[in-house]
């Protein structure tokens, strides 16, 4: 009974969906304010969702129907499962086992992978180019982002999220591992395809990228998945680098602060071309985080 509640209502399921919509609103509102616009009202993401769900879903010709309809579900399911393993609201994760960090990170990548497949599944040119870019970008930020989350794990000496959080409790790793933090937060932006890393869905070039052919329910589910990913990603980075999340207020403050930084970066940046993005990640992102881990290892050996 408890697990059903955990899966469907709290912390995963409906609760994290609502939280995701709330964070989407914060993101849009903050960006609008920074761009000298008014921005949407608080229920706008919710209204968008209902509108999309109510709309007819058009399955284009020449696609694999099962894949086309199934991929959004798989993507959202992946993101929701990931939410079970992270300390949402500062509470203990619903499920936990040694090594759940790896599982969580890959569950998050599942969403991007599904988007890439969804784009490649259709015959639309914009989708195909978008899918290529989505997957190219996935392979560029994934390794540095993963490494950036591993650096705190190395310090804590465990691959279990709750273990790392317990270790990080009150200890701001942002101060001891600034490079890792920068890569983690920029990596999260890449993961969420936020500008300047929005080449995969650059509207002025390829309309909506991989999701161009999606409408109605499929599109709504992908968007929801993105929102959940935003919450999970913010939680992970806040818990690892900002001294853990202790209680709901602490959680809201820290993740909100992170979101503010991300939106600020978004607002002042021009979209990068896909080859610029890849270059940035492999030339600087990977290098920075490797340096960080090297420092960590040397420190650990020296301290021991």
């Amino acid at each position: 009974m408890t697990s059903i509640i955990e899966l469907l209502l709290f912390p995963s399921g409906l609760f994290v969906l609502a939280l995701g919509l709330a964070y989407e609103w914060v993101d849009r509102k903050l960006l609008a304010q920074m761009q000298n616009r008014i921005g949407p009202r608080w229920f706008q993401p919710f209204a968008d969702l209902i509108k999309l769900l109510a709309k007819e879903e058009i399955v284009p010709e020449g696609v694999n129907r099962v894949l086309f309809l199934g991929l959004p579900v798989v993507a959202l399911a992946g993101a929701l499962t990931a939410a079970l393993y992270v300390p949402l609201l500062g509470l203990a994760p619903a499920y936990s086992f040694p090594g759940d960090l790896i599982v969580t990170v890959y569950l998050l990548s599942l969403l991007t992978l599904c988007m890439g497949l969804a784009g490649a599944n259709t015959l639309d040119r914009f989708s195909l180019i978008g899918a290529t870019r989505t997957l190219t970008q996935l392979f560029s930020y994934e390794a540095p982002f993963m490494l950036a989350l591993l650096a705190p794990a190395l310090v804590a000496g465990t691959w279990q999220i709750s273990g790392i959080v317990a270790h990080a409790d009150g200890q701001w790793m942002l101060l001891t591992q600034p490079l890792g933090f920068i890569v983690a937060i920029i990596g999260l932006m890449g993961k969420l395809e936020m500008p300047p890393f929005d080449a995969p869905e650059a509207e002025t070039e390829i309309v909506a990228g991989a999701l161009t052919e999606y409408s109605g329910r499929g599109y709504a589910l992908f968007r929801l998945g993105k929102n959940v990913e935003l919450v999970v990603g913010l939680t992970l980075v806040a818990a690892f680098y900002l001294g853990g999340v202790l209680n709901p207020i602490d959680f809201v403050l820290k993740t909100g602060g992170l979101l503010l930084v991300m939106v600020g970066v978004h607002a002042v940046m021009t979209r990068m071309r896909i080859e610029q993005t890849v270059g940035l990640w492999w030339r600087y992102g990977a290098l920075l985080v490797l340096v960080q881990i090297l420092i960590q290892l040397v420190w650990k050996v020296a301290a021991a």
Partner: protein, 400 residues
């Protein structure tokens, strides 16, 4: 996608074409471009125009000279004053009438305000194409200032209707002049900021520096014009080469850049705003006294006249032939965009797909200027519908 599916599948060796327009978020205007790509690299480009032909050149032949003034002002929503002014200058030449000095100065003031408005609009659009939405929002917010100034002077934000044949319709009072100067002070400050952004923002420079380079020789060969040509170092500006009306006494400076890339096109336009501000201040200070309108004959003597005006996008060229009646025998309109369009197609080859929207926008294309001649109707459905029939049809379609 309207093509049948078997055409879209692209086995090795076949062309993979990315269509942009007439319906595409990059181009909210009805032109159709096809970019043949290999991965992310563009191999070939073609253009198809004419989606919104309105038949204006033909229409001028059935309207009198005064009606045409209003028709031609509506060729373009951005450089509306340019078209009305070029046409008026041509007709005045045919009639042997010259607008009074005060009218000339007011025409130039409106033209320069229009240039500021057009260039700021362009800055926003170009920033949006690059994915820099914050610059887009800010430049369009500031553009409201110049729109408000135009509304203050003329009562309209877009089609100012400043020209009448033989002069202008409204005066500029000293109070209005004061308000305009105040607005210009604000714009000057903002403009300096934008120049700083386009010259120093690292990420934006990553997208515009060295992209789409057009050498001076290329610009001359392909027939580039206006700011696009000036960004490649071609010294072309009708206001300086063949000064008309008040430009004879109030010379603008020639603004050129040598790099020929997108960065140069940004800089040329932003610096031209600066120059326009200087020119307007000068004109407001030395506004000549006198009449606003010279008397025009109703029938224009037979003859042919050519008039040229530097529109925000380059040289606008009008050829007007009169046969001695009150309607022109022929009005030929050559807008700057059609001239620059050829440069896009040749620049595109070898660049990244991601650069295409910016290259396209780099010339500041104006599709309403391009497409102006013929009403397009589908051949199989050529009957004309009245408004009521159209309404009934619409209701029927959406009733289900």
């Amino acid at each position: 996608m309207t093509q049948p599916i078997e055409k879209i599948e692209t086995p090795k060796g076949e062309r993979f074409i990315i269509p942009i327009g007439p319906q595409h978020p990059a181009l909210k205007e009805p032109g159709h471009f096809e970019f043949t790509v290999d991965g992310e690299t563009v191999k070939d480009a073609t253009v198809r125009l004419g989606y919104v032909h309105r038949g204006i050149e033909k229409a001028t032949e059935s309207r009198n000279y005064i009606q045409n003034l209003y028709l031609l002002e509506r060729i373009c929503g951005i450089c509306s004053h340019t078209h009305a002014m070029t046409y008026s200058l041509g007709v005045e030449k045919l009639a042997g009438v010259e607008a009074p000095p005060r009218a000339q100065a007011i025409r130039v003031i409106v033209a320069e305000l229009e240039r500021i408005h057009s260039h700021m609009l362009w800055l926003g659009v170009a920033a949006h194409e690059a994915g820099f939405d914050t610059l887009f929002m800010y430049s369009w917010r500031d553009r409201e200032t110049v729109m408000d100034l135009l509304e203050l002077l003329s009562g309209n934000r877009v089609n100012y209707s400043a020209n009448v044949l033989g002069g202008v319709k409204f005066d500029i009072t000293p109070e209005q002049a004061g308000d305009v100067l105040k607005g210009l002070d604000f714009l000057e400050g903002r403009n300096r900021h934008y120049l700083d952004v386009v010259s120093n923002d690292a990420l934006l420079l990553g997208r515009i520096r060295g992209v789409g380079v057009m050498t001076q020789a290329d610009a001359e060969r392909l027939g580039a014009i206006g700011p696009t040509a000036r960004a490649s170092g071609v010294a072309l500006d009708v206001r300086i080469d063949a000064p008309y009306i008040a430009y004879k006494d109030f010379q603008p400076a020639l603004i050129t850049e040598t790099a020929g890339d997108l960065e140069a096109r940004f800089k040329v336009r932003v610096r031209e705003i600066e120059e326009s501000i200087r020119l307007i201040r000068l004109l407001l200070e030395h506004l000549p006294e006198g009449e606003l309108v010279a008397r025009m004959p109703r029938r224009i003597p037979a003859g042919e006249a050519i008039s040229r005006v530097e529109a925000p996008r380059g040289e606008a060229f009008y050829f007007i032939k009169s046969n001695g009646t009150d309607t022109p025998a022929r009005v030929k309109v050559r807008t700057p965009t059609i001239f620059n369009m050829a440069t896009v197609l040749s620049l595109a080859k070898g660049l990244q797909l991601a650069d295409m929207p910016m290259i396209l926008v780099g010339i500041d294309p104006c599709f309403s200027c391009n497409d102006r001649m013929v009403t397009v109707r589908e051949a199989e459905r050529a009957e004309t519908w009245t408004w009521n029939e159209l309404r009934e049809h619409g209701i029927k379609v959406y009733q289900r």
